[in-house]
């Protein structure tokens, strides 16, 4: 069923109205009509199945038929710290990591980061990519998105997790061993930019208490490493059955 993210407040009543791009999407792109059903979710775990009551491309009203808690969220909470890389690659990481299930994403300025962060805030484009990936993947919660941080800040934050990792091209421990049962409830992972983390950065991460892990002898592009380590971690944690 088609899914849409709405504000928590909008889901509080039994008649919900959506306007703007979502109304256009329902009326013009999906060509839905009164009587069709959609799922609304608030991005905080609550969902409702709704029947469309009236549809125009400015405004769609719908009746809540049933409410439930989303069941597709991962028990393992991954906070991904991908190196800041050029926009298309970072955007791929935002989309794929959200589909896979990560709880939070904070890009990190690394020594070999070529891209420079926009001052201060999280770009609205990042938020759109993550929202769409949540809607598409059937997740119930929006991942937290944070503005770019520097490397020492990322290391300091990461060590709050039960298990904190950085992916190193200079060798390291086996993810498979570190994720052996009992699996951690929270995992933080820093992944490097094109060219990888510098050895000094890996050493700094280790001083903070992170484990360096290897993703094998092949050189993965920055975005591939970020996607691959999340996939493997969920699999190892038993999230894939």
């Amino acid at each position: 069923m088609q899914r849409f993210l709405v504000d928590r407040a909008a889901l509080a009543t039994d008649t919900v109205t959506v306007e703007g791009p979502q109304a256009r999407q329902i009326a013009l792109v999906l060509r839905m009509r009164a009587g069709d059903e959609v799922t609304l979710c608030d991005g905080e775990g609550a969902e409702a199945v709704c029947r469309l009551a009236s549809v125009t491309h400015q405004r769609v009203t719908m009746q809540v038929l049933s409410r439930n808690a989303n069941a597709a969220e991962a028990a393992l909470r991954i906070h991904l710290y991908p190196a800041l890389v050029r926009a298309p690659r970072l955007e791929l990481v935002l989309q794929k990591a959200t589909e896979l299930g990560v709880a939070a994403i904070t890009p990190v300025l690394c020594r070999r980061s070529v891209a420079r962060p926009a001052a201060g805030e999280v770009p609205s484009r990042w938020r759109s990519i993550v929202r769409e990936a949540v809607e598409q993947s059937g997740r119930g919660r929006l991942p937290e998105l944070a503005a770019v941080v520097d490397f020492p800040t990322a290391c300091g934050e990461a060590t709050r997790a039960d298990l904190a990792l950085c992916c190193s091209e200079h060798g390291g421990e086996a993810l498979r061993d570190l994720m052996a049962p009992p699996v951690p409830r929270t995992l933080a992972v820093i992944t490097g930019p094109e060219g990888g983390l510098e050895e000094e950065e890996v050493a700094e991460a280790r001083r903070h208490g992170l484990h360096a892990v290897t993703l094998g002898p092949r050189i993965l592009r920055a975005e591939t490493a970020a996607i691959a380590v999340c996939a493997a971690a969920y699999c190892l944690a038993g999230e894939w059955g």
Copy 2:
């Protein structure tokens, strides 16, 4: 060190000449000069470190300094059968699966495949993407690329592997359990198109002897599923340490 794929025959002598796009890449893009070193590999596991002797953008000659066998190939041989999907998504799968290390890729026409296969041959664009990913990732072997096959053919081929899987959104076994030691030496995986494999396709795969596996409760895009299952399989097989 910069790496280039060349013909096996070119690597047989101690003086190697490259022309065309590779010469332009070396001379104009990388601005390399006589005395600089590159690695040549033949895509079949043999490599040579070479010193540039003369550089023009039509022709670069180089001397072989040392020869060695590539050490970055995976022991686990994965044959990936990704559903045929629209070009940008399929191309992402070709690139990422090659980086991760797959031995062979054969796209599969599934019921929900929207894209239609070009008649007969493997598109040259697919070959370029895979070649670049081999050069970039430090691999020693070019994955085998095959033209699109139909679903029953894919199932029949897949069961030649020690372990044959299809990724199902309708539930299935746990990849983690199927990959428990002793790990298979060869693995074949069919992944679905947008919307997933139909239940009847999963049933057909099972009749052929494939195991249906789940990638968890979240709906992954077609390309994400293909990348994720390869990453997890290599990790589980001990390829990541």
